[in-house]
Symmetry: C2
Subunit: 725 residues, 2 copies
């Protein structure tokens, strides 16, 4: 791995393509950089002038008085590869390529040049960011090699003055949005240590920088805007490192609305699009998804302030001087999945001493304007903090008038230092800038949005819970020992699509689908005989690798009780199948006992192009396709993870006891999920899609039946590079 330290912390910087003309991007970089007292030696490289903005300029990177740690390159795309080659020869350790016109451009030329960049970087072991990057900022040494207007020197210094605070880092492919995080967050008095915009990511991707920053250990939360993940292994490694360190990754994946895989053979693949795979990975590693720029910054602010005192649960106490504001916040908390429980009697008695008759200590604690003015926000919140009924506190306030907060500053600082529970502030009026400063100085994030305030509390509680589970020792997996080699060999020998009759013996090696399989019949007489041997009502299913959706093809008949029924159905399903898919290869007709009733579940596996196999579970037969109530996770799964996956379904309660109906055999379902997840993990390269649809989960203690199965083998897909602007 090349040296990212040379890139982010260079002692010497060459600016290749330097210009004094602040009207173009080339000139703006120098203008932005010089606005801050950066702590390194800067050498402009210019073919046309010997001096740029008062600095001696050099005609070539080769002419510098010393080898640069970092070359910042902004010259026409077509010259970039040769320049980078020159940098390599001159011993330059790293480069940021801001030029555009590479893989993001139409045509092949740009992509070709981008490949050249990758090759040159590799040859010289150079750390290369971009191309099509907007540069970066390192506020600790005040270095801002970027043309982003957000980093121009202005009224505000790069870092909030005064007491040191927790620090943020931003990693984004998009330069415009990357620096916009700084713009939003700096206005909230947040400290940013790095803003890194990685552009097309020809060599280094956002997560490589996250890795460096986590190793450095001086950043407390990371904002991540992803257009794609190029190296899933890096993702897994960095995400796990962040979670172990308790440094939250707050993320948005752009391109959520992109259509998923167009041609999916299985229902699982149709339901599990690209974004669903990202979500599964985010949920696995506790990444926190934000839906808006401001929301992501707000969530980060909560973690910066309270990272060491995250809420132990989802119960919130709300203090307010405005009944309307408190009620609205209670609604927002409930909508965010938080609870607003009534406070305990002791706490209420302590609060009531301070309230007039028209206040209430229930929760929200409505102190009324008069009492709130008398005891102050800190006094009010401090009365709620000790309540055993709540895990965090939200103060509804108005930060319009900074004088009011100035008076309370000391009390607020004391409370922030002492409280074991996080306290968030929501101002229903727009805050004065000085109010934001005061609250930031004493340690409180200030919210102007109800939703983001409540969502932040929820995210903090969930992050703590997920991290604690993650750090717990891994539970013992299923005791079943699969015959991995036999399954692998059978898979290797099979054709591209395995219908139920072909898939079942392979799945059985993993103990999947132990319910009676039935018999394959190739004549009506054989079907009738099979049905008689089986006894009771049977199902007939045409077995063909060319007919994936048997129900639509009319290739299934259920509940056949008599020999006559079986005979009639045999002819019917075959005719229907042949009509539906002319020329289909037909292995025979499977005669199967009818499964006992149970809750319908779909279990499946989909090999995601980026992250590999994911297990999917959904409830409810055809409802799953309409309501799309499914959950995904990377494989393999431990039983506890399988349970959590089930809990994530909106219809999870359908598995519980209901109106006299006993609960479903969730243990059996979990065991099935675990086994399937191991099957998928062990044969990741061989499998594209699996459907067990439906699985019938019987009453508690009665197991689960796999009623149909389908495996689609992988034609190992490859993923291309992305781009950003």
């Amino acid at each position: 791995m090349p040296d990212l330290g040379a890139l982010l912390w260079p002692r010497t910087v060459a600016l290749v393509g330097a210009s004094a003309d602040a009207e173009n991007l080339r000139g703006r970089i120098l203008h932005v950089m010089k606005g801050h007292a950066f702590d390194c030696r800067l050498y402009p490289v210019s073919r046309s002038s010997g001096e740029v903005m008062g600095l001696k300029a050099y005609p070539s990177i080769a002419d510098l008085p010393e080898a640069a740690d970092l070359a910042v390159i902004i010259i026409p795309a077509k010259h970039v590869p040769e320049e980078l080659e020159r940098c390599g020869k001159a011993g330059v350790k790293s480069a940021v390529v801001l030029s555009s016109g590479f893989a993001e451009a139409s045509g092949d030329a740009g992509a070709g040049m981008q490949a050249e960049i990758r090759a040159i970087a590799k040859r010289y072991d150079m750390a290369v960011m971009g191309p099509n990057s907007e540069g970066f900022a390192n506020t600790a040494n005040k270095l801002c090699p970027t043309f982003s207007p957000a980093m121009e020197a202005g009224a505000r210094p790069l870092l909030p003055p005064g007491c040191p605070r927790g620090q943020l880092a931003v990693m984004a492919q998009s330069g415009g949005i990357g620096f916009a995080f700084f713009d939003h967050g700096r206005a909230k008095e947040l400290s940013f240590r790095y803003i890194v915009t990685t552009g097309n990511e020809a060599c280094l991707e956002a997560l490589d920088f996250a890795d460096f920053i986590l190793e450095e250990g001086k950043t407390d939360a990371l904002l991540l805007l992803l257009e794609d993940v190029k190296s899933p292994d890096t993702f897994r490694r960095v995400a796990e490192k962040a979670l172990r360190a308790g440094k939250p990754l707050i993320v948005n994946k752009i391109g959520q609305s992109q259509a998923g895989v167009r041609a999916a053979a299985s229902h699982t693949a149709a339901l599990a699009g690209e974004y669903a795979a990202y979500q599964a990975m985010f949920q696995r590693y506790g990444l926190i998804e934000g839906r808006d720029l401001g929301e992501m910054v707000d969530i980060a602010a909560g973690f910066l302030a309270w990272g060491a005192r995250l809420p132990l649960g989802r119960r919130v106490g709300i203090c307010t001087a405005s009944g309307g504001g408190g009620g609205w916040m209670a609604d927002a908390c409930t909508a965010a999945g938080l609870e607003v429980p009534e406070l305990d009697g002791d706490t209420r008695r302590r609060i009531d001493e301070h309230l007039p008759a028209y206040g209430t200590s229930q929760n929200p604690v409505d102190a009324t304007a008069q009492a709130a003015a008398k005891i102050g926000y800190a006094g009010l919140a401090g009365l709620v903090v000790p309540s055993p009924a709540v895990d965090g506190i939200i103060v509804v306030m108005t930060a319009r008038n900074p004088h009011n907060l100035e008076r309370q500053k000391e009390a607020l600082a004391r409370l922030a230092a002492e409280t074991p529970k996080p306290i968030l502030m929501w101002s229903y009026t727009l805050p004065a800038p000085r109010s934001v400063e005061i609250l930031s100085e004493v340690g409180y994030p200030l919210y102007t949005g109800l939703q983001t305030c409540a969502r932040t509390m929820r995210a903090m509680a969930d992050y703590r819970a997920l991290r604690e589970r993650f750090l717990r020792p891994i539970e013992v997996r299923s005791t079943f020992v699969p015959d991995r080699a036999a399954a692998g060999a059978a898979l290797a020998a099979a054709d591209a699509v395995l219908c139920e009759w072909e898939a079942r013996p392979i799945l059985a090696r993993y103990g999947i689908g132990s319910n009676p399989v039935g018999r394959l019949a190739s004549s009506a007489d054989a079907a009738v005989a099979a049905a008689q041997t089986i006894g009771g009502a049977v199902a007939l299913k045409v077995q063909s690798p060319d007919i994936l959706h048997k129900t639509e093809a009319g290739a299934v008949a259920l509940g056949l009780a008599s020999a006559q029924d079986v005979r009639g159905a045999y002819a019917r399903v075959l005719a229907s199948a042949r009509q539906h898919v002319p020329g289909a290869r037909i292995l025979g007709v499977l005669v199967q006992p009818m499964a006992p009733p149970g809750r319908e579940v779909i279990l499946g596996v989909k090999r995601d192009a980026t992250f590999g196999p994911l297990l999917m579970v959904g409830l409810g037969g055809i409802e799953v396709e309409v309501l799309k109530d499914v959950a995904l996770a990377p494989v393999p799964l431990a039983p506890g993870e399988a349970r959590e996956l089930l809990a994530r379904l909106k219809g999870a309660a359908l598995l519980e006891a209901h109106r006299g109906k006993p609960p479903a055999d969730v243990d059996a379902l979990v065991e099935l999920m675990v086994r399937l997840s191991h099957f998928a993990a062990d044969h990741a390269d061989a499998i594209a899609e699996i459907d067990l649809n439906p699985v019938l989960v019987h009453e508690q203690g009665k197991g689960a039946s796999v009623v149909d199965a389908l495996i689609v083998k992988a034609q190992i897909p490859r993923k291309g590079g992305g781009h950003a602007t």
Copy 2:
């Protein structure tokens, strides 16, 4: 109705309780009022001084040189009734009571005084706002009788200077939040005509003011924060007036998370809480729900700018200079239920002429920073406007630098004047205040949140569609003519709870449940005989007004095919019922043919305490209780409204054709909904709850079967008053 004009537009104002001490609320009112050059005569009334802040003060309202149009009263609660009486005698036409300590206080004294206020107001036909109001503001005559800090004279005038724009009004019970809308909106250069905070609403409620403001006709959108609705008739009348006039009501109902009715006999009542009733009314009349202060202001800003050119559909064209920003906005639009379709070829060709190779005209149109700088935001948006593929345009931009916008101002103004489609601007960086001004001056709302920008476009499209449907002539209702009188008489004669056997004949008067009812048996022999007469498999159901949930009570047996089965089940269901509810009155056991299969639906009616009977529909048997996928609407319903209600269900597609399964008989379901809605409307006072659960909707053309029915009669509930702070 008393004269609200005297209250909002007084020529003479008495301030009762006036004080020069700006440290207390009494003094702050005068301080706030005098900050603006209000256009009326002001008379302080003070017992203790002859002069207040340079104005001659009077010892009593009776001593004024002329009768005041408006008395602003801020004296201790206990003196308010006598003072109001004095006002009435002195010929004062209206009053705002800012004092607290009435119905919002614990104990009965406050509520008693509030009742006195109501009585006095009625006696003198005085328009009374409050008590516990925070006053109001009328910016047109610069009158701000309030102690809200948000209305203090400051750097900004009450109204944005320059060109006249569309105007907003705010109505809220909560003073703090009411004026916070102004605080947020004024910072976005929006014009507010009125801010009205109604407090406890002893006499006048928020909607009365909305009515006045709609009649006046100078306000283009209304922001409404409701804690409750006191007069549902006023709600209906005002909501319809607003919709007809095309003046959107943007609303939040506080108290959404309140528990619904605790003890509900029917599933419908358990599923349809108080907030659900509000939502049903909002949806009926096109009120737009906002979830956050800022969001409501943002939605209003969209309507103020584009109210006359609302989008004809949900298709959005996005223009951007930042690929990341455009992609993120596309995600936000999709999440908001908008479409981001590829643009048509002609439009793309026109755009492509301006783009470099690394831009794209697909949609989002990513012009790249270079091209965007050259042709400008107006140029870019102007290229997308004519595309037949889109109904509205969102421009992704940065409003950080006002000079940039200043240069484009003329082009932007021209585009705003000419475009037939709305154009919203989202700035990913925080805008300079001057940028907001410039865009406001030329007619564009500026968004800093992705979500609210997208949601505004969606709300505008939905509002237009709903309003156009609403204004269309009413379709002919069901041709079935019910026997209203017979049903009413039977209802009147019935006990409090009607089990299926009792409910069915009454429902049949409205053509509800025409499928075979079966026979009531009071012995096993009778049951067997009934089953034989019916033929085929039957169901047995114990009929008792004391057993509402028969399945849980084991009081139902299904699919009984033989005499032996019927006999055994008869004993079993009766024993089980008697064990479940000892002493239950049992009418007999209903022997019913098994209904043919169909999609399970729950239909119900719930009489909401505020809005009266609402029809509820949900899909999916027990799933409805887990997923709570239900929709409600006020009754009666026209067929088109019933269809829209069905479309609102998340699982609506379950009624469609699916995988070879024919579609459900939606026409039959709609007819059933219409009939039930008329039954509920015709007998609104007599009915508390109705469950038709389940209704089985058969395949298209095969009708629907009502499989169970329950009616709970009303014990006419009354609703108390609310309060606000």
